[in-house]
Symmetry: C2
Subunit: 195 residues, 2 copies
């Protein structure tokens, strides 16, 4: 049997660096977290960082890409081949909530990344993919007469807004579980406020 190496190398090291940096960035902020802090937190020399990543910025970009990719996979897996567009939207929202519950720290990372020009591009690309996925379900729902005939892009962003705000407030901020929040989010999106 293989034993855990005391000094990981290769991909393990990379993971270690990315995980640790992600947590520090999320808790402390990207700029206030220095490369020196990251490596000393892991008990290694600075050269290790620059062996695996060409810059702090590159590491950040990789974190963002990976997280977005992971979130999307989670959504698609949850949706599977569900035929009902309304149900697909609900499943996607539930999957997003669950993912945010399991990766609480990444919420801050996403939010920060959107505010800085050099990371905003990556975030926009990721969001465009999410919007693209979701808008298809919405359009289909409208065509099938299941949903109101409003601007699909607006509806899509409204759904994303509900999901991300409830994820922030109740999961990220208050530490509640994903499932109960998802139920509320879904019923709001489907039926709105009015009685």
């Amino acid at each position: 049997m293989s034993v855990k190496k005391l000094t990981p190398r290769g991909k393990d090291r990379r993971r270690q660096l990315m995980d640790f940096a992600a947590h520090r960035f999320a808790e402390n902020g990207y700029h206030p977290t220095s490369v020196a802090e990251i490596v000393s937190g892991l008990g290694v020399g600075k050269g290790v960082f620059y062996w695996y990543f060409s810059s702090k910025e590159e590491l950040m970009l990789e974190l963002l890409r990976e997280a977005q990719h992971d979130l999307r996979r989670r959504q698609q897996q949850a949706i599977g081949d569900e035929p009902d567009p309304v149900e697909r939207i609900a499943l996607g929202m539930r999957a997003s909530m669950a993912w945010f519950a399991e990766n609480r720290h990444l919420y801050n990372l996403f939010e920060f990344a959107r505010t800085e020009e050099r990371f905003a591009g990556a975030m926009r690309r990721g969001q465009d993919v999410a919007v693209g996925d979701l808008v298809r379900h919405v359009k289909e729902g409208i065509v099938e007469g299941r949903m109101r005939d409003a601007d699909p892009l607006m509806l899509t962003h409204a759904i994303l807004g509900v999901t991300s705000q409830l994820a922030r407030e109740f999961i990220h901020e208050r530490g509640e579980s994903g499932d109960s929040v998802a139920d509320h989010a879904i019923s709001f999106c489907l039926r709105g406020l009015l009685a």
Copy 2:
């Protein structure tokens, strides 16, 4: 008649610093924008900055407080003494959209501030006020039987989520006008997705 001073003093100087800094922070990021850049952009010496503000952080906090205060005043002014809780919510959303349209740059500032511990407190306080205002209308709407009997806090955050996401995407990002976006946001919040 009084003429514009060539070298503003007192409150004018303060305003000048705050406005310029807010724009630089929003476009470039808080950390990447140095105090040196701010003062040289205004063509003044560094001492001016530290005459009016005790630190870069304090200036930032003041910007956040002022912006939140201004946004809230705008909402309250729009709502006036409207008796219908549903209409009050719609008026508040419309006012928020209009405010974001007129202060596009502040969106990034808010978003960044939430991600850094030392500013998160101020943001939370501001949001708590907004939630407090809004949740009252929601509760009243439920009591009056105008709205679905769901958790008022969830409904409130869902409304905020729709508002802020649509503001970000269509006003901040795409530069559309506030009014048309507000209509979509309101109708989504009231009636949801379903036909």
